[in-house]
């Protein structure tokens, strides 16, 4: 069958353990319905389909599978990643302080043009808050990264976060496309050539 989507983005969730990355990926994971079988094995990744500006986008979203406990997240995990969610827990200051270390880790191991976004998770637990929203925003501004506070539990901003990251990746790809086209653009004939190549450029088949 012909491909039925326009883009395919590999996204990663990064951050200290316990910040709720898994819940961002699996919204209802505490539900009694689920068999112990699945919660014991754990989930590797998910495929989700979203639509942005009339384009169909497949997101392949990976959790770190607890590798972060051993600080062993390396190049293999980052390979092919186009977007990274940096997640901390607003009720855990340490997890916030560690975002800087995670950013360094990304700079060492991930592709240099990977899109990043910082998420302050568990914003439904305001009474236990240790990190102010302003602090989160400031960190994001310092690094030039977008920021949102989310609650996986209450489904606040979770979809918006993934849509924002996907949109930023798409914008970056389109810009690259245009740069490539304009460098070779001479006349109408060339424009047609570029157009015909477009579809293969857009299909970012990873894996």
């Amino acid at each position: 069958m012909a491909k039925t989507y326009d883009y395919l983005f590999k996204l990663l969730l990064i951050g200290d353990s316990g910040v709720g990355k898994t819940c961002l990926l699996f919204r209802f994971s505490e539900d009694a319905f689920n068999t112990t079988f699945i919660s014991t094995i754990g989930i590797d990744f998910k495929i989700r389909t979203i639509e942005l500006d009339g384009k169909k986008i497949k997101l392949q979203i990976w959790d770190t599978a607890g590798q972060e406990r051993f600080r062993t997240i390396t190049t293999a995990y980052y390979r092919g990643a186009m977007g990274i969610m940096l997640v901390y827990d607003i009720t855990n200051e340490k997890s916030f302080d560690n975002i800087k270390n995670w950013i360094r880790n990304i700079e060492e191991h991930a592709s240099s043009d990977v899109e990043r976004m910082i998420l302050g998770n568990k914003c439904d637990m305001n009474e236990k808050r240790q990190v102010s929203k302003e602090k989160g925003e400031k960190l994001a501004i310092d690094y030039g990264i977008k920021f949102l506070e989310t609650s996986a539990k209450s489904s606040i901003n979770v979809e918006e976060a993934f849509f924002t990251l996907a949109r930023d990746i798409m914008t970056k790809l389109n810009r690259k496309m245009n740069d490539n086209s304009s460098s070779g653009a001479g006349g109408p004939v060339k424009i047609t050539e570029n157009r015909s190549k477009k579809s293969s450029f857009f299909r970012c088949t990873l894996l």
């Binding site: 395919l8 994971s29 068999t35 112990t36 495929i47 389909t49 599978a65």
Partner: protein
């Protein structure tokens, strides 16, 4: 009888039985027979089966991982990954063997059709 077209493609969308999350669009899979053992979906059933599962025989066969609308893949169990609902984690709804990269089975009796 499976809701299949003459060619054996799924006429209806494949949904999660529990939360209605869209797993496959109409026409994204073909009907296939294969005997597979899937761990039970529900806790009670799992207990009744003694931690075993059900033998399922009728499947929607998907050839490209990215043909799925929404789906989750478990970590490896031997050389198998089980498929679950991407939204509510209900499952296993399907089966994928790492030795056959182009085959993803979704058990008919573990999903809804609409």
């Amino acid at each position: 009888p499976p809701p299949a077209q003459p060619l054996g493609r799924n006429l209806k969308a494949v949904l999660c039985q529990r939360c209605g999350s869209r797993v496959l669009l109409p026409g994204a899979a073909t009907f296939a027979h294969r005997e597979l053992l899937l761990p039970a979906m529900r806790k009670k059933a799992a207990a009744a089966a003694g931690g075993g599962g059900d033998v399922v025989r009728e499947h929607w066969l998907v050839r490209d991982m990215f043909s799925f609308e929404n789906v989750g893949f478990t970590r490896d169990v031997g050389n198998v990954k089980f498929l679950v609902c991407a939204d509510c984690e209900a499952g296993p709804i399907g089966w994928h063997c790492l030795d056959d990269k182009d085959s993803f089975y979704v058990a008919l009796e573990r999903v809804a059709h609409e």
